[in-house]
C-alpha cells in the first residue's frame, strides 16, 4: 500500500475529523473560529501535495496520482480555502449559523479530490456521492428560507437521477469490458456505447450541461450565495479534470464527438439565449455557468493535448472568476433586503466603486476580453478546435460568445451607467471576503498577462 500517494486526502480527512470533533464541543459562538480552523485544513492539504511522489498508484490501483491530478487537487484546495475564509460573515448576518457548515465544504472537497484520482468506477461513484451529499446539505442550510429548501430538494432529486444513471452506466461498462477499471477498450459494441452515454450523461448532469441542467438555475438561486460560489467553482474543476482523464478511454467511440458536440451546442445556445430573460443576477450567472459548461464540453470533443490543456486552463480560471463574482454578490447580499434583482444593482458604482469595478472585471472576463485570463483559455480552445479540423464548432463558439456579451453588459450597465436611489445601507466587506475577491481578481489579471505560469503546469 502506497500511503504517500494518499497524503493530501489523508491530511484533508484528518482535518475534517478534527473540525468535526471540535464542532461537537462548541456552540454557535465559536462558529467563526471553527470556519477559520477549517479554512486552514485545505492549506495544509495543499502543502502536503509537495511531498507526494508521482506518478503512482495506490489502494489496489483504484487510486492514481499524476501531475495532472495533483494540479487539480491544488486548485480544489485553494478554492475551498477561499470559500471557507469568505463565508462566515454572510451566515452571521443572515442569522443562520450552523456549525456544521464549517466542515461540510471540506467533506465535499474530499469527495472531489478523490474523484480526480479515481481510476475505477466504484471509487468514482463513491467519491461523487460523497461530494454531492455534502452539496445537497449546504444548499439547503439557510434558516427560514423556503427557496433554499426547495433548491436543496430539487438538487437532491435530480442529483439522485444522475447518481443512478452513473450506477447504471457502470453496470453496462462492467458488462461490456468485464472490469470496473478504466482501461483501453477498443471493441465497438452497443453495450459499451450505452455505458459511455450513461456515464457522460451523469457527469454532464453534475457539470450542469443542457439537457441535464434543470437543477442549476434553482439550486444556484436558492442556495446561500457563498455556497453558490462553491458550487460554481470547486466541483466544476474536479469534473473537467475527471472528464479529461476519461476522454482517453472513450474518445474512440464513434458517437463520442456527436454526443459531446450536441451537449455543448445545446448548452451554449440555450443558456446564452435564456439568460436574457432573467431578472435576477444570481440566476443569470447560473445560466452563464451552463453556457460555460457548453464551452468546456467543446474541449473534450476530441483527444488532442492542445485542446485539453486549453480546456483545463480555461476551467481553472473560470472557477476563480466565478468564485470571485459570487463572493462579491454575497458581500452585497449582507445588505438588508438586497435580493440580487437587476434593479438592486443600479448605481452600485457610486456606492461601492471597488466592489463594482471588480465585479465588472469578472464579468468582462466571462465575456472573454483580454487581458483577463479567461481570454487565453478561449484562444486556446479556438486553436485546439481549428487544429482538430472542427472549424464549425469553433464558429459556433464564436457566435455563442458574441450572444453572451449582451447579458453580462446589462449588469455592467446597471452598475455603472444607471442611477439608482440609495435604498440599502452600505455593506462592510469582511477580511475573508476581501482576501477572496482580491486573490481571485489578481489571479485573473496576472495569469492573463503571464498565462504560462499556469499553462506550463498542465502536463498531459
Amino acid at each position: 500500500m502506497n500511503w504517500n500517494a494518499l497524503l493530501p486526502d489523508i491530511t484533508l480527512s484528518l482535518g475534517i475529523l478534527i473540525v468535526f470533533v471540535l464542532d461537537l464541543f462548541s456552540t454557535k459562538r465559536h462558529y467563526r473560529t471553527l470556519t477559520y480552523i477549517s479554512a486552514f485544513v485545505p492549506v495544509f492539504a495543499f502543502f502536503s501535495l509537495f511531498f507526494v511522489e508521482y506518478p503512482a498508484k495506490s489502494f489496489f490501483d483504484l487510486y492514481k496520482v499524476s501531475s495532472l491530478t495533483l494540479l487539480g487537487k491544488a486548485v480544489l484546495y485553494v478554492l475551498t480555502s477561499l470559500v471557507l475564509f469568505s463565508m462566515h460573515e454572510y451566515y452571521e448576518k443572515k442569522v443562520s449559523v450552523y456549525t456544521e457548515l464549517s466542515y461540510l465544504p471540506l467533506l465535499s472537497t474530499l469527495g472531489l479530490s478523490l474523484l480526480i484520482s479515481s481510476a475505477n468506477l466504484v471509487l468514482l461513484f463513491l467519491s461523487l456521492e460523497l461530494a454531492s451529499i455534502g452539496m445537497y446539505l449546504m444548499v439547503s442550510l439557510l434558516k427560514d428560507e423556503y427557496t433554499s429548501k426547495e433548491a436543496g430538494f430539487k438538487y437532491l432529486l435530480i442529483g439522485a437521477v444522475g447518481t443512478s444513471t452513473l450506477a447504471l452506466g457502470s453496470t453496462f461498462y462492467y458488462a461490456s469490458t468485464g472490469s470496473l477499471f478504466f482501461r483501453e477498450y477498443r471493441d465497438e459494441n452497443t453495450l459499451f456505447t450505452l455505458a459511455m452515454f450513461l456515464i457522460i450523461s451523469a457527469l454532464a448532469l453534475k457539470a450542469s450541461a443542457v439537457p441535464y441542467h434543470f437543477w442549476t438555475p434553482d439550486a444556484y438561486e436558492g442556495a446561500p450565495t457563498p455556497i453558490t460560489g462553491y458550487l460554481s467553482s470547486v466541483p466544476k474543476v474536479a469534473l473537467y479534470f475527471l472528464l479529461v482523464d476519461l476522454l482517453s478511454y472513450f474518445y474512440h467511440v464513434k458517437q463520442w464527438l456527436i454526443l459531446v458536440a450536441i451537449i455543448s451546442l445545446l448548452s451554449m445556445f440555450y443558456a446564452n439565449i435564456v439568460a436574457y430573460a432573467q431578472r435576477s443576477v444570481k440566476r443569470l450567472l447560473a445560466y452563464s455557468t451552463i453556457a460555460h459548461a457548453g464551452y468546456f464540453f467543446l474541449g473534450i470533443s476530441v483527444a488532442d493535448p492542445q485542446l485539453q490543456r486549453a480546456l483545463l486552463f480555461y476551467v481553472i480560471l473560470y472557477a476563480f472568476a466565478s468564485l470571485g463574482s459570487f463572493t462579491i454578490m454575497s458581500a452585497l447580499e449582507k445588505k438588508e433586503g438586497f435580493s440580487h434583482h437587476i434593479l438592486d444593482y443600479r448605481g452600485l458604482f457610486k456606492e461601492h466603486p471597488v466592489l463594482s469595478s471588480l465585479f465588472a472585471l469578472f464579468l468582462f472576463a466571462f465575456i472573454g476580453i483580454p487581458p483577463m485570463a479567461l481570454f487565453v483559455g478561449k484562444l486556446g480552445l479556438f486553436i485546439g478546435l481549428v487544429n482538430s479540423f472542427l472549424l464549425p464548432l469553433a464558429l459556433a463558439f464564436v457566435i455563442a460568445s458574441i450572444v453572451s456579451a449582451g447579458y453580462y453588459l446589462r449588469v455592467i450597465v446597471s452598475m455603472f451607467l444607471e442611477e439608482g436611489e440609495k435604498r440599502y445601507p452600505p455593506t462592510r466587506v469582511s477580511g475573508g471576503e476581501a482576501l477572496t475577491i482580491l486573490l481571485c481578481s489578481l489571479i485573473i489579471l496576472i495569469l492573463g498577462i503571464f498565462p504560462h505560469l499556469l499553462y506550463d503546469l498542465i502536463e498531459l
Binding site: V386, A405, H452
Partner: protein, 491 residues
Amino acid sequence: MENLLNLAIFLPLVGAIAVALVRREMFSKILSLGISTLVFLIVAYLFLNFNWQAQGFQYITKLNWIPSLGISYHVGVDGMAISLLLMTALVFLVAIIWSWRVEDRPNLYFSLFLLLETACLGVFSALDFFLFYLFWEGMLIPMYFIIGLWGHDRKVYAANKFFIYTFFGSVFLLLGLASIVVYGYVMTGKLSFDYMFHLGFSYPFWLQTAAFLLFGLGFAVKIPMWPVHTWLPDAHVEAPTAGSVVLAAVLLKMGTFGFVRYSLPLFPDASKYFIPLIFFLSLVAIIYTAMMAIAQTHIKRLIAYSSISHMGVVTLGTFAMDLNALNGAIYMMIAHGLSSAALFMSAGFIYDRIHSYHMDDLGGLARYLPKLAVLFMISGLAGIGFPGLAGFVAEFLVFLGTYKNFPVWAFIAGVGVVLSAAYFLYMYKRVMFEEETLSEYRIEKWKHLKDLETHHMLSFFLIIALAFIMGLYPYPFVKVIEHTSKYVLGG
C-alpha cells in the same frame, strides 16, 4: 531608441493608474497633460529619426513572453505605423487639452483616456498577433465607459451597441488569427504568434479566403464598412466631444491599418480575389453614406456619416493594388484623423455653447462665434479635400492610383466624393449663415456667447497646423508611408 517606443506605449498606462489613484483633480489634469505631451514629443522624435530608405521594421523590441504558446512581446514600426503613431499621439494630446474643463469625475475620465492611448499606440506598433489582439480589445473597455459615462441622452444604448458590434467583429478576428497560427503549427511544428514568422508563409488559397473573411469581418466592423457601419453614427452622437475625436481619428484607423498590415501581405491572393467585393462595399460607403449625410439635421451624425464615406475612399485605395493608391489610402488615414478631429471639436464646441446639435436650433452663428466660424471652415475644407490641406493629397493619390487599374470604379468613386463638398457646405450654411432664422429670442440669448477659449484655440492650432504641413509639403510623409506600401505590394 527602441526603449523610447516602449516608453511611449506604456507611459500612458502608468499615468492612467496614477491618475486614477490621486484625489486632487488639478493634479490629475496636469499629470495627464504632461504625459500626453511627453508621449507626443517622443513619438515626434521617433518620426523624425525614422529612416525611410532602410527596409523592414524599425525600433524593434523582441522579448520572450509566453514561450510555450510561441507568444513574444514584439513591437516595432514601419512607415505607416510611425505616421499613425504621430497622429494618434497628437490627437490624444488634443483630446486632453480640449477636455481641460471637464467637471464630471475628471480623474476617471483622464485615466480612461490614457488607458485608451496605450491601447491605440499598442495596436499600431504590435508585431505579434497575441499582443495586437490584446491591445485591439484593450481599447474596448475604456471607450465603452467613455461613451457610457460621459455621453448624452442615449449613451447606454450607444455604448452597448458599440461594444457588441466591435466585440462581434473582433471575435471573428480572433478565430482568424487562431486559424493561421494553427496552419503555421501544422506546417512547421512550431507554434508562433509572430507576425514576421507568418509573413514568410504562402498560405493555400482556401485558407487565405477563409482567413481573409474572418480578419476582414473584424476590420470591417471597426472601419466601419457598409453594411456593418450602423454603430458609428450612434456612438458618435452620444459620445462626449473628446471621445468622438478619438473614436473618429484613431479607432476607425485600426480597421484600415489592419487591412494594410495584415490582410494584404498575409493573404495576397485572397486580397486580389475579393477586390470586386471590397470595391463594391467601398463605393456603397462613399456614395450611400454621403447621401445619408446630406439628409441629416444633426451635425454630429452628419460628420459621422462623412467619416464612413471617407473611410470608403481609404478601403478603395487600399485594394487598388497600386503604389500611389496605397500611399494615398494611408495618407488619407492620417488626413482624415486630423480633419474629423477638428470637425468633431467644432461640433462639440457648438454643443457646449448652444446645447444643441440640431441645425434647426442653430443658424447665423458666424456673427456670434467668428473664430469658430473660421476654424470650422478650415476643418471642413480639410475634410473635403481642398487643395493645400492634407485631404487633397490623399484623395488625389488614391484616385490617381485607382484610375490606372480600375478606371470605371475610380470614376464612380470620384463622382461620389463630390457629394462630400455638398454635405459639408450645406451644413456650414445652415449652422453658420442663414441669419434670417435668427429670432429675437435667439439674438438675445446668443449676444453674450463666449468664443473659443485658449485651450480650444491650442487644440485647433495643433491639428490644423499638421493638416497644413501635410497639405503643403507632403514629400516626407509620402516617403515615410511608401516604406510600408512598397513591401505590402511586394515591390
